[in-house]
Structure formats: C-alpha cells, structure tokens
Amino acid sequence: MSGAALSLENDPGPVVASTPIGTVPVAITINGEQHRLSLEPWVTLLDLLRERLHLTGSKKGCDHGQCGACTVLIDGRRMNSCLKLAVTLDGSEITTIEGLGQPGNLHPLQAAFIEHDAFQCGYCTPGQICSAEGLIREGHARTRDEVREQMSGNLCRCGAYTNIADAILEILETEERA
C-alpha cells in the first residue's frame, strides 16, 4: 500500500574503516580469581564473561539492559553486565552465578529456586538469582510486594514469577531470623 514512496535516507553512508583497534590493560577479579586482561574498549562485561572467559552462566537475553538475564554482582551491587564496558571495571570485584555456588555446593538462593521450582527453561535463572542476591544485600525489600517490585527488572518468559517470589521470600525470612 504505502511504503514504496518512503525510502530510508537516514543512512550515514559508508564509514571508512579501520586500523586494528587498540587494547587497554585491565585487572578484574571474577569469582575471587584475578584476571589481568588486555581488552578492546568495545567489549562488554557480558561478552567478556561469555565469549572470552567461557563463564556462560550469565545470559544474553537482549543486550540492551531490558531483560536482566545478564545480571551479575559488581562490587556487591547487581548490574546488567551487557551495559558495562569491561575496560571501565579495572579493580572491580565481580561475582557471577558460577561464583555463588556450584552443583553439590549450592548457595541458599540456588537451593530455594530448585525447591520452589522458580524456573522452567532456566535461561533467566542465573540473572534472577544474582539479582535476588543483590536485592537481599540492598536490604530494602521486606514484603512480598516489595520483592515483586524490586525483582521486576528480571524478565521470565516462562512465567515463574510467583515461585521466584516464594524462593526469595524464604531466604529473606531465614536471613532476618538469623
């Protein structure tokens, strides 16, 4: 119908490329292990973890900070690792899902997620768990409504939300009693 008349003239035109992009030295501690890396500035933390260090527990669900699947803890705070350029993290301490616990040595949140069946396909799960750990450390959430609100940056397409809230509340309550 329409469309034929509308051409896309917003093309910036050919860009002249490009000598090899330089690298920047960075020292990042990941799950307690220090990595001395030489990185191009365009490498995100998420791609560093997944493609170069083979820590694929952090997931890519959008690459735009919209889904939360890549959530990790940077200096104890939850962050979308797809929105962080790795070279900006010199001296940082990062915890990924692999650092929280392992099969046979589960973090309490990981065990609670299994117990409450708080996942189905499992793809958003590492991000949910890292986000939940960050939420607990923030110490702002006390009620179920607060947990639901403050976990809303982590999408779950399988719709495990009620079970995710149950799992996190169980750990919150355990920690409060302790």
């Binding site: 329409s2 191009e40 890519k60 299994i114 396909c121 499992g122 399988c158 009620t162």
Partner: protein, 754 residues
C-alpha cells in the same frame, strides 16, 4: 532373604519431584546453544534488511571487509549454491507454500529479512562490520496492516496438516434469525511474538573430518537435522544436532529458524566452526502468533440455551506460506447447540510467516469465543458460570463423538469454590474497594490431548543405575524430570539412581516437542522400554538360587520397588535387581522401545474426542482514572487426566496463565505500515508481564482418571494454562467497569479512551 518388613519407597507418577536439571540451571552449568566452547570459531552477525518488499539493488561490502578480523561477508551474490526445489527446505511442520530461504536472491519478502552474514574472528568485529554493510534497495508496495489485508483473505486450497475444518450442523443462519436472544460482535487479537528469553542461536562445531555438531535452539533436534541434511547434503551420520538445553521457545523453535541455516551454510563455506546468535530485534523478524479477526454470532432461547453458533475468523500469514490455525472449532466442540457453522480464512501480508505460539488456535479462538459467551450470559441475565453449565455438552458437540473423559464440571466446581465465585455480586461496577473497581470474570479453556510416535531407550547397569535416553526436548517443560518419574514408577528405582539424556539427534526417535504431547508420548516410550528391561530382569531372576520368583509368570506378577522385584502373591519372596543381574552374568540390560498409536488407538482417535479442559477465574482491580488494571487473583482449575509431576505441571499452568495475562493486557507487536516494520521490536517496548504484575495464581488439578486417552492416561499441560486466561481477565474487566473490550490486549489507552 531380603528384608521385606519395611515399606518399599515408591517415587513415581504423581510424586512432586524437583527438576533433575535444576542444579545445572541454577548454577549456570547448563549450556544453551550459544554456550559451547568451540576452538577457532568464527562469529556470524546477521545484517537485517530495511524494506518490507522489493529487491536489493546493490551491496557495498568494502567497509565491512576492511574491518580487521573480518573473514567473509556472505550475501545472495556469493553464497554457496543450495538445492533449487522447495521440497528440500520442508521442515517437520510442512506449512504449505515456499519455505523461506535466507540469502536466496535479491528479492525482499519482509522487513528484517537477512541480507548478509558477516563472519569475523571476534563478535565485536563482526557486529561492527555488520553495521557497515551498505545495502541499497528498490522498494515495492507493501502491506503489513492486518485490517487492510482482510480484503485479500482466502481459504488456501492446500491445507496445513494440523488444520481441522469446522463441521457444520443444522442451519445456523436460520436459527440465528429466529433466536430470542442474539449476540453478534467482532473480536480481535493483536500480533504477538514468542520472545523466549534465549534468542535463537546456533554454534556449529566443524570437526574438520567431514562431520559437524550443530548446537541449536529448537524444539526438535531430529527435525532440524533432517532439514539441514536435505539442504546441505550431509548424511545423518555426519551432521548431529544437539538441543540439550533450550531457553524457552513456546513454538518459535518448532521450525528451523534462519540462523541455523546461515550458520551451517557459513561453516560449510569457510570450513570452520561458526556461531550465529540473533539479536533481540531479529527475534521479531520470524515466528509470531498471527493477528486474528473473529466475528461471532450466537443465538439462544430466552433462557440462555444456545440455538446457534456461527464463527467467521481470519488469521494473518505471509505472502509465501499459508500458515493456518484452528480458530472457530473450539466453541463448537465445547457447547451444545443444534445449529453451528464455522468459516476460516487466512490473510497474507508482507511479514514473515506467522507460526504456532503456545496453544496455537485455541489461545486465540477459544479465548475470544469465551468473551462472546460472557456477553450473551449478561444478555440472558444468567450468571456466567451457570450459563456455561446450561450449555454444557457431555459429548464433543461438533464432531458429535464422546470424550475419553471430560471433568470440566468438576473443574468449574472446584475452581469456583477456591475462588469464592458464590459471593460474586452480579451487576457490573457493583464491587469497589478504595479507588479501585473490582471485577470477577471466568472462562472455559480447551485444548487437545495427543500422543505421537516416540522412542526411548532404558539402560540398566549392574550397579543399579538406570539411564533413559530419547531425542525429545525440554524447552522448560520438565520433560526430562517427567521421564525419570515414569522410569522410577515402572522399575521401582529411586530417582537419584536414574539419569536422563535428551535433546540430541543421535538418541532414539522423537518428533518435535509441541502441542502438549511430549509427556504422554515420551512417557509412554519410557514405560515400554523400562517394562522391557523389567522382563529381562525377571528372566535373569530365574538364575538366582532357589528361584524365589518362580511363581511369577510375567512382570504383572511382581512389583518393582526399592530396586527389587517382589512377588505380588507372596511379598516375602523378592529378588533385588542387582542380584538377578549378577546371577545371570549380566553387566548391562538395554532396551529400546517405540510407543505409537496402534490400530485400536487410531480407530479410537476417530470415534472418541481427546481434550483437556480448564475453568479459569480472574479478579481484576481497575483504577479508572489512571487506566491501571491489576490482575490480583487467578484460579485455574485444570482437568488434564493423570499428572505425572505435580510440581512441574503446576509450573506449566502458572506459566500459561502469566502469558495469558500478557495476552489480556500487554502483548502487542505494533507495525508502522509506512515502513512495513514492527516498531516495538525489543523487550522495553514489547511488554510482557513482569514480577510486579503477577499477584496470586492458584492451580488446581481435578481428578480425571482416563486410561484411554493415552497409554499413561496423560493429557499434557503445556498449552491449557494460556487458553482463555485472557478471556477471564477481559470478562472481569467488564464486570469491574461495565466496559466491554473485544480487542486484546486491553491497554490503558483503550480503557481510558472509551
């Protein structure tokens, strides 16, 4: 003699069991398609086309190729040759038409169509170079507007295999004309995209010896294997497809998506391993639930008893394939009416072909029908639940065949009791708390219960461990866990002695996972395989000193429990499976079996209907001034035959309900027809429910023994949760506000604008 005093521990069908892949998933050890470490691998980034229809007039790759690290830019001009005939590109679903072939020619069929694949040594170099590929086009007139496409609607002469044409009865037009009560309205469902959290991705491991392993996101490894072999000329021995972990799919992985085609093409071309991952934006350039238009005419006696059902529906498809859905049949199957008729068409538009998305057809057709039923209930001044009971049909009202079982009355009863439906105030706008209007609505859900040919292997080793293998998939459904439970049930082994491997084309045959068939089909195959192992164990027990089980003539005469075979007629007589194997000198017992509908099943499938039913109750709270709708309570009572794992089955229903909430309130892919493009192609603008949107969901499984529906009495629960959830919510919104919305989703603008 073994100790028989303690009660054998029986974990099996009906035991809530944690997911067997849970520890891997919660620790990040589960590897999805893009997560296999493969040495010397190239990264492929897809360049998406910018027009909706027309042709490519030029491609300037100079800048892209100049980026350090770029190895190749594949386009239609330099791609390796591929087979010419469409039949080589047909997948398991076999949609009538010409299957899409990426980089086939200069012709553009839809916006976002892949026009180039940039291959580089790093992901970042490939991504940057992809942004430099300069494609020029000659645009042709296009249309992606569904309303406009209705002018071209037609019933395809070649039908999709899974399509069920409506069966008409009586004279619906005359009955409608004569009806004391009438309702006629047009209903609409927006285009939706599946958006599994994992984007479609493929890692090709090019082994260099003529063989390759393709780690791919899909719902059926063997279907993708056949597809790739047919196109690229590999044998099934040479090309293996693995989908061990699938980060959701909901139907988007039923057909091979274009990234797997491009990845294998690139690997073959470069003789190297290749990874291709779609971007989230590219996830909006393929499968989607069709947009739907559905005119429903209902006639009834003054009491509300239906005299005619008449539906006329159209769903969207592409210009190159005719994807069809069952839209109009659901209300005709579910409700008694002497007169009924249905019509169905597809309308082509310049997009990718629409596809199956969770409960395809029913999620659209039954949901919209249940809004119409609610409207007629109000016209008849009958409580919406009583109205359904008034028009209840004990038989399939369209095929006029009995059901193998239908515990929908019980679902209505148990759901209503749990919800507190009795205390509902019938008038719209009659319930309020603070600034929020409260509404209660309900609807009926319907889906099919199918069983398809599937194979499985059971391998028992002398240490008492059992391994189950089948090529079936687990897209979040809990398939592997269900298979462990069936095996535990059949051979009386504790689940921690059982391992399961699925999602690999090398394993015993399984069709693509979809339509809520996997538990019934894979479960039946595992049961057969374990029974075959059991028979050999019993045979082996003959070698045990004293032959304690000599009275057992078949495995029917023993109970398998706690790793032992116990004589039913004298439980003091038992032999442990390990002792039997040792006595017979067996290290391994391995059996592969295939479950498939036999002749009697096939006759039964023609003479009896097989369906799963549900009753959904919803509470909404609506702030009219803000246009905010909150779904504060859902009760979904499901009659799905036998439930193998109540824990994961409940989660399946929860997930369906949440997606139904999205259908009711959020999900809508919006096109701009000037560009011919989906505009909200990201997760910030294509809204799906988040945790804050989901309050309280109660799932009830009503008792529905049904030994005839499938070998295990299982009906499947993957789809039913979504069916009619959106109708219950829409009906609750009417009850809260008096506003009747017939176009889903019911977004803020619609609520405030009326």
């Amino acid at each position: 003699m073994p100790d028989t005093r303690h009660e054998p521990i029986r974990v099996g069908i009906g035991t809530p069991l944690d997911r067997v892949d849970g520890p891997d998933k919660v620790t990040g050890q589960a590897h999805y398609a893009a997560e296999y470490a493969v040495p010397n691998m190239l990264y492929g980034v897809i360049v998406s086309g910018r027009i909706a229809r027309g042709r490519i007039t030029g491609i300037d790759e100079t800048a892209a190729r100049a980026v350090p690290g770029v190895v190749e830019v594949l386009t239609h001009r330099n791609r390796p040759s591929t087979p010419w005939l469409d039949r080589n590109y047909k997948d398991e679903l076999n949609i009538p038409g010409d299957p899409f072939r990426a980089l086939e020619s200069e012709h553009i069929l839809f916006s976002g169509q892949p026009v180039a694949l940039v291959l580089a040594e790093t992901f970042e170099a490939a991504r940057f170079a992809a942004s430099l590929v300069d494609v020029s086009y000659e645009a042709a007139a296009h249309n992606i507007d569904f309303e406009a496409s209705l002018a071209e609607r037609f019933l395809p002469s070649k039908k999709r295999n899974s399509y069920h044409p409506p069966k008409n009865h009586g004279d619906a037009d005359a009955a409608f004309a004569a009806a004391e009560l009438k309702h006629e309205a047009r209903y609409h469902l927006a285009t939706e995209h599946h958006n599994p959290m994992e984007m479609h991705a493929t890692t090709v491991d090019w082994h260099g010896d003529g063989t390759l392993t393709v780690y791919d996101k899909n719902q059926g490894s063997q279907g993708v294997q056949s597809y790739l072999c047919n196109i690229f000329g590999f044998s099934k021995k040479e090309l293996r497809v693995v989908n061990a972990f699938v980060g959701g799919a909901f139907g988007s992985g039923l057909r091979p998506q274009y990234q797997v085609y491009l990845a294998v093409m690139a690997a073959k071309h470069t003789q190297r391993s290749v990874r291709v991952v779609m971007t989230r934006q590219q996830m909006f350039t393929h499968a989607h639930r069709p947009e739907a238009d559905y005119t429903i005419r209902l006639g009834a006696e003054a009491t509300g008893k239906l005299t005619s059902i008449d539906g006329d529906a159209t769903t969207s498809t592409s210009r190159f394939e005719n994807n069809m859905e069952d839209i109009v049949i659901w209300g005709m199957i579910n409700y008694a009416s002497p007169n009924m008729k249905g019509e169905y068409c597809v309308a082509p538009r310049d997009t990718y072909t629409s596809a199956d998305m969770r409960a395809p057809g029913a999620a659209t057709g039954m949901t919209l029908f249940e809004i119409a039923m609610d409207e007629l209930a109000y016209k008849a001044k009958v409580d919406p639940l009583d109205f359904r009971l008034l028009n209840y049909s004990d038989i399939d009202a369209m095929y006029r065949t009995p059901f193998t079982s239908k515990a929908l009355r019980e679902a209505y009863r148990d759901g209503a009791a749990a919800f507190g439906w009795d205390s509902r105030s019938p008038e719209p706008r009659s319930m309020k708390e603070g600034r929020e209007l409260i509404g209660w609505g309900m609807a009926t859900g319907l889906w099919t219960a199918e069983f398809v040919k599937t194979s499985a292997k059971a391998k028992l080793t002398a240490d008492g461990r059992l391994e189950i293998t089948s090529a079936t998939s687990d897209i979040g459904t809990g398939t592997g866990t269900v298979l462990v439970l069936v095996a535990a049930d059949t051979l009386g082994l504790p689940p921690d002695r059982i391992s399961v491997r699925i999602g690999d084309s090398d394993l015993p045959h399984s069709p693509v996972q979809g339509g809520s068939r996997a538990a019934a089909s894979g479960g039946a195959a595992v049961q057969l395989a374990c029974e075959a192992v059991g028979k050999r164990l019993l045979k082996a027990a003959e070698k045990v000193d004293g032959q304690p089980l000599h009275a057992a003539r078949s495995i029917e005469d023993v109970i398998f429990a706690d790793g032992r075979m116990i004589l039913k007629s004298d439980p003091s007589k038992a032999v442990s499976c390990a002792d039997a194997m040792q006595a017979a000198g067996l290290e391994v017992i391995e059996e592969e079996q295939t479950a498939q509908p036999g002749l009697a099943d096939r006759i039964s499938q023609m003479t009896r209907s097989r369906n799963v039913h549900s009753a959904v109750f919803a509470e909404v709270r609506v702030d009219e001034e803000l246009g905010q709708i909150r779904v504060t309570r859902i009760v979904n009572a499901v009659a799905a035959g036998r439930i193998i794992n109540p824990k994961t089955a409940r989660s399946q229903i929860l997930g369906g309900v949440v997606m139904g909430m999205g259908m009711a309130l959020h999900e809508e892919t919006l096109g701009d027809n000037r560009l011919g493009r989906w505009m909200n192609h990201n997760l910030a603008e294509y809204h799906i429910p988040v945790n804050a949107d989901v309050h309280d969901i109660q799932v009830i499984f009503v008792d529905e023994p049904d030994p005839d529906v499938t070998p295990l009495g299982v009906k499947g629960v993957g789809e039913i949760g979504i069916v009619s959830t959106a109708a219950a919510i829409a009906n609750a919104i009417f009850h809260a506000t008096g506003q009747r919305h017939r176009s889903l989703p019911i977004t803020i603008d619609k609520l405030i604008g009326t």
